[in-house]
Amino acid sequence: MQKDELKIKLSELLPSAAFEEGAEWPTILIDPRVWTDLARHIRSGIRLDFDYLFCLTAVDWKTHFTVVYHLTSTVHRHTLVVKIRLDRERPEVPTVSDIWRTAEFHEREAYDLMGIVFTEHPDLRRLFMTDEWIGWPLRKDYEDPVNMIKL
């Protein structure tokens, strides 16, 4: 499906979504509460069929967080980017690991390194760091005078 067609179809599906301009792939910004329904629709919607989640990124913007999902379809070969803006004090977003199984590991990594909580995840614990590690290393305000030697 072409970029414009996809935009029209998504605005029908979710009127409150905002589109970002100037990006390579169609990008929508949504609220965390509507994410589960939208995910199910784009996974199995006719002519949408976004069955392959290829990247899940968590970004720290100092005042808020953003979780970025890159999705593509192996059937129609179109790509979509979904961005969800989260509160800095309580970053919570529903999990999609029952829809795309690859999200299990990706969400654990985002929790481990950024501290974003994915509600209803089957097994949310630290992945890379030791279980006793304190702090979320990839955040911009993470200080570690013992281990980090700054240039």
Partner: protein
């Protein structure tokens, strides 16, 4: 010649126990240095160059490192090939403790020597394997060529023969 009187000056006994024991020491050191069995321990990229050293072109079994053992109980030398991170350090310590004496350590590559390219701005890398276990020989390079690793192995052998190795 009159040899019935004892020597009037001071007599110092020879250190090390005399010529029999030093010769025995030499033979034991020669035997030890020529059959050091390495432990299979490669964490990252240097492991590939270690495997290349074990393969047919830069064969290390010419020098006696024939059998690479998987279990530390049967190994003599541990070649730390790769970066050591905070989570791996206790594992490395435990492997070293499980090895039987005499044991030797070679730190291969820039990461094991000092943290390497991951020295600045990393929160999880141990800046040098000698923070965890005592090291005998350091090899520079990222990754070191197989010839550099062979040079390090030969240096270790000479160190053992000259009685300079740490325990």
């Amino acid at each position: 010649m009159d040899v019935s009187q004892p020597f009037p000056g001071e007599v110092h006994p020879t250190a090390g126990g005399g010529i029999l024991v030093t010769k025995l020491d030499e033979v034991i050191n020669w035997a030890r240095s020529n059959s050091l069995w390495p432990l299979v321990f490669g964490t990252s990229c240097c492991a590939i160059e270690m495997m290349s050293t074990a393969a047919a072109k830069y064969d290390w079994s010419r020098f006696g490192f024939e059998v690479a053992r998987a279990t530390p109980r049967q190994a003599d030398v541990i070649i730390i090939a790769g970066t050591i991170v905070n989570k791996m350090a206790p594992v490395l310590r435990r492997l070293y403790d499980q090895m039987a004496d005499p044991k030797y350590v070679i730190a291969m590559g820039a990461c094991a020597t000092s943290g390497g390219p991951f020295f600045y701005n990393t929160y999880s890398v141990v800046k040098g394997a000698d923070h965890v276990i005592p090291v005998d020989v350091y090899v520079a390079g990222c990754p070191p060529r197989p010839e550099a690793l062979l040079h390090a192995l030969i240096t270790l052998q000479e160190k053992i023969r000259n009685n300079h190795a740490e325990r």
